[in-house]
C-alpha cells in the first residue's frame, strides 16, 4: 500500500464479492488523510461491536448492531471506493492493533465477529467462493442430494436439539477429518468419509479460519512494525498509528452528572487538586488573562460540562472571567452563544462531548493558544515548571520526561496522576474527565479516612 500526499489512483482490488479476506495489503494509493479517517470510521464499527458484546447482547442483536454500524460508518461518496475503504481501514488498524497481546486479542475478536456477520449475509455462491479462498474443501450439497439425505440430516439436527427449519437447506460436504470437533460431538451426518455440515456450522468453521489467519498476520505485522516501519514512518504514519492506538474507548462523559460535581465556589480548590494538567493550565490562564481563545474555550468548557457544571453555572463562571476583560455586554453578545451552543441549546443542537486525550493531543495550538496537551505541546522547560507547580517529585518528573521524549503523552499524564495522588492508575489516563473522576475518588476516600 502506498501512502501519498494527494495522489489518488484507480483501484484494482483482489477482493472477491464485497467481503474481502484481507489476505495481503493491496497495491493501492492512499491519501494520508484517508489513512487516518478510514481507520477511525472502522474503529467506530469495531468499538460499537465491542460495546455490544460487553453488554451481553445476543448474536442476532450483534448482527443488527454490526449492520447498522457498518452502514453508518463505512460508506463512501464514491461507490467504487467503498471496498477500498474497507480494505484500507482494516490494514491501517492492523498496524495499530498488532503491537501488544491485548490489542491483538481485542482486534481479532472484533474483526472475527464482524466477519461472521458479513459472511452470513453473502449469497451462497459468494460464500462458496470465500470458502475456496480459505482452501476449505467444502462442496455445496445439490438440491437433489439434499432431498435424498434429508431424513438423515434432519435426524442429526434433532439429535443435537437444533431441528431444521424449512429455510435450512444449505448444507456442505467436507472430508470428515477437516471437522474433528463436529465429528466428535456427533453433530454432523457422516457418510463414506464425508461430513455433512449445516450452514451455521460452516460459519463457525470459516470464522475460525479467518481468525487464525488474521492472528498469524498480526504477529508478522508486529515484527515488521517493530523492525522497520515504526522507525521509517516516525515522522509521518507512526504518530497517527500511535494516536489511533490509544484511541478512546471508554465513556465519553457526554451525560452530565445528576448532581454538579463542582460548584463555582469550590472550583479553584478542585482545579488544584483534581484537574489534569491540560485543564489546570487553561483554568489558570483564564483566571490570569480573563480570556481564552476559541480552542481553549472548547477544551475547558466541554470538560467542565462533563464534570457536571450546569449551563447556568457555566455562563456565570465564564461571564465572571470574561467580563473583566471584554465587559459583560460583549460577553453576552459574543461568547454566551457559543457556551450555549456547547450545551446543545443553539444551532443544530448537537450535544458536544468533552474531548478525549487523543483528540486533545492531536490538536494544534497556535500563538496565544493554551489548549492542547502540555505533555506534547509544552517545551521541556515549561513542562518541568508546570509539574513542579503541581508538586510532582523530581524522580517522577524524570520518568514523565522520559515518556514525553518517547511521545507517550498519556502515559506521562498517568505518571503525573500517580505522583500527585500517591496511588497507581492501572487503567491509564485517556480522557481528562476520567482523570478528574479518578482523582475525586482518591480525594474523597482520603477525606473519609481523615474523618
Amino acid at each position: 500500500m502506498e501512502i501519498y500526499g494527494y495522489q489518488r489512483k484507480a483501484l484494482h482490488s483482489d477482493a472477491i464479492s464485497t467481503l474481502p479476506l484481507y489476505r495481503s495489503a493491496p497495491p493501492l494509493d492512499v491519501r494520508l488523510e484517508d489513512f487516518e479517517l478510514f481507520a477511525i470510521d472502522r474503529l467506530r464499527v469495531l468499538k460499537g461491536i465491542s460495546d455490544g458484546l460487553s453488554r451481553g447482547k445476543k448474536p442476532e442483536e450483534i448482527d443488527n448492531l454490526a449492520k447498522d454500524l457498518w452502514k453508518a460508518n463505512m460508506r463512501h461518496p464514491e461507490a467504487s471506493e467503498v471496498v477500498n475503504k474497507d480494505i484500507i481501514s482494516h490494514f491501517v488498524l492492523r498496524l495499530v492493533y498488532c503491537r501488544t497481546e491485548d490489542l491483538r486479542k481485542w482486534f481479532l475478536s472484533m474483526e472475527t465477529a464482524l466477519f461472521r456477520y458479513r459472511f452470513r449475509l453473502e449469497s451462497a455462491e459468494a460464500q462458496r467462493a470465500l470458502m475456496a479462498e480459505f482452501d476449505l474443501p467444502y462442496k455445496a450439497v445439490s438440491n437433489s442430494e439434499f432431498e435424498s439425505m434429508k431424513d438423515n440430516l434432519g435426524q442429526v439436527a434433532r439429535s443435537i436439539g437444533q431441528p431444521l427449519t424449512p429455510a435450512d437447506t444449505k448444507f456442505y460436504t467436507v472430508p470428515f477429518e477437516e471437522v474433528p470437533e463436529l465429528v466428535a460431538g456427533r453433530r454432523v451426518f457422516v457418510h463414506k468419509g464425508h461430513a455433512y455440515v449445516a450452514m451455521n456450522q460452516v460459519v463457525s468453521l470459516v470464522a475460525t479460519q479467518f481468525r487464525s489467519h488474521l492472528s498469524k498476520a498480526l504477529i508478522l505485522t508486529n515484527r515488521k512494525w517493530t523492525s522497520s516501519i515504526r522507525e521509517q514512518e516516525k515522522d509521518r504514519l507512526t504518530p497517527i498509528v500511535e494516536a489511533l492506538c490509544t484511541s478512546y474507548l471508554g465513556p465519553d462523559y457526554s451525560e452530565p452528572r445528576e448532581f454538579a460535581e463542582i460548584s463555582i465556589r469550590d472550583i479553584d480548590q478542585i482545579a488544584m487538586s483534581s484537574f489534569p494538567l491540560c485543564m489546570r493550565h487553561l483554568f489558570e490562564k483564564l483566571r490570569e488573562d480573563h480570556h481564552l481563545k476559541h480552542g481553549g474555550r472548547m477544551q475547558l468548557g466541554l470538560f467542565l460540562k462533563g464534570v457536571g457544571l450546569k449551563l447556568d453555572d457555566a455562563l456565570a463562571f465564564w461571564k465572571a472571567e470574561f467580563s473583566q476583560k471584554v465587559g459583560a455586554e460583549r460577553f453576552d453578545k459574543e461568547y454566551a452563544y457559543s457556551i450555549r451552543h456547547n450545551y446543545g441549546r443553539e444551532g443544530k443542537r448537537t450535544d458536544y462531548t468533552p474531548f478525549s486525550c487523543q483528540k486533545i493531543i492531536s490538536s494544534t495550538p497556535g500563538v496565544g493558544d493554551h489548549h492542547g496537551c502540555p505533555y506534547r505541546h509544552f517545551s521541556e522547560e515549561n513542562l518541568r515548571a508546570a509539574l513542579g507547580k503541581m508538586r510532582v517529585n523530581s524522580r517522577a518528573v524524570e520518568d514523565v520526561m522520559d515518556k514525553v521524549r518517547n511521545r507517550h503523552y498519556q502515559l506521562a499524564c498517568t505518571l503525573t496522576f500517580e505522583a500527585v495522588h500517591g496511588t497507581s492508575c492501572d487503567a491509564g489516563i485517556n480522557h481528562p474527565n476520567q482523570y478528574f473522576s479518578e482523582s475525586q475518588k482518591v480525594v474523597q476516600s482520603k477525606q473519609v479516612e481523615d474523618v
Partner: protein
Amino acid sequence: MTREEIGNGSEDMVIDECEPEGRERNSVPDEFNANYLKVYYGKLFPHADIFKWISYGNDGKHPACDQSYFSRREFSYTLDNDIYLRYQSFNSASELENSIKEKCPFKIDIGPVYSVDPAKRHAYAQTGDNVFTPVERELVFDIDITDYDDVRYCCSGADVCLDCWPLMTVAIKVIDTSLRDDFGFNHILWVFSGRRGVHCWVCDGKARRLTNEQRASIAEYFRVYKGNENSLKKVSFTGLALHPFLARSYSEVLKDFFKSKLLLSQKLFSTEERYEKILEMIPDESITSELRGKWQENKRSSISKEDTNVVRWQQLKHILQSGRPKAQGLRRCVEEIVFSFTYPRLDMEVSKHMNHLLKAPFCVHPKTGRVCVPIDPNCCEEFDPTAVPTLSKLLEEMNMGTLRADVDNEWDRTSLGKSIRFFRSSFLQPLLKSCKEEIENSYNAKLQHSKNSMSW
C-alpha cells in the same frame, strides 16, 4: 495305527479314529513356553506376510517406493523375563524374521512409522525442525471384555465364555459397519487379542495419516458410555432423536441382540440385585416402584427363569414406551438401557495417540497359549474364542503331519492355515493392490506437476 489325512483347516481335524492313548504319543502338553514359541516362530509365524503388510507396498521396485518406510517403523518386544525392548526397527523382511527367531519375544507390539529410523532417534530433537516424531500409524481400536464386567454375570475378569463373548461380536458389527459406511474406510483387520477381546487395525492410507486430534474425534464419535461406578446413568440420550449412526446400530444390531440373546444368556432380570441395576437407570420413582411391585410379586409364581427375563423386559418396555407423556429423562430410556448393556466400549487412549503400541496379529497369548488370529467381521457370530488354536495344538498338528511333503508351508498343515489364508485373501491382497495404486498415482501426479512447472 492309521494316520488321518490332514485336510485344510480346523474343521477336518477331528481325530475320532485314534485312541486317546494313541493320541498321547503326538500330543503336546498344553503349555506356553519358550521352546514351543521357538518352533512357532521358526515354522508357523507368517513373517513374510507381516512384512508385506507393514510395508504398504513400499517393498517393491517402483521408483516411487519409499525405501526407508519399513525401517522407520517401531516394533517392540516383551521377552521371557518381562524385559521390554522398545524402538526395534529393521531394514528388511529377513532382518525382522531373524530377529524374532533369535529373540523369541513373548509378545511383539507394532508401533508407528516415525520420521526417522527409531534406532537413530537420539540424534534428533523432540521439537523444532529436526524432529523424531510419528508420521504414520494405523487407526486402531481395542475392545476388552473386562470393560463390560458390570453387565456380564457369567464370567468376570479374564474369563470369557460363549455367553458373554457375543458382546464382542456385537462390538465388531457396530464399529466395522460405521468405519466402512460412515467413514469410508476399506482396509480393516479385526484380530482376536488372544484372551478376552478384539483389536481393530484400520489400514487405509487416509487412516494412517490421521492426526491425534482426528483419531480422538473418531473415538469420541464412537463413545456412548460415560461415567463410572458413581454415576447411575452411564448412557444418556438427550435431544429429539438419535444420531443416525446410533439409530442404525440400535435397529440393526443392538436391539435384537439384547432382546434375543443377552437378556437370556445373562438373565438380566432374574434376581433382585440384577433388576435393581436396571431400575436404577430409570429416573422416575413411580415407574420403578410400579415395576418393583410387580416383580416382587412374580418372584413367587414364576415357572422358568428365562420367561421371567423376557416377561419383565416386556413390562418395562411397555411402561416406558406407552402413550403416556414422558418426562425429559424418560423419552429414550429403553434405548439407554439397551445401549448400556450392549453398545461397544472402546479403550479411548489406545485410539487417540499415534505412538500407542498394539500387539501384532499372530502373536501367541502367554496366558492362554492362543494365537491372535484374524476375525472375519462378516461372520463374526461364528467366531469361537474357546476354539482358537493354541500353541500346543499347533505343534501337535505339525507333529502329525511331518511326513507330508506336498504342502508348501508348515502352517498349511495346521489350523493356522485357515487364518493365514483369510488374512491374505480378504485383507492383505486388497490392501497391497490399493497401496500400489496409491503409489503409482502419487508418482504420476508428481511427474505431471513437475512437467507443468517446467513448461514455458
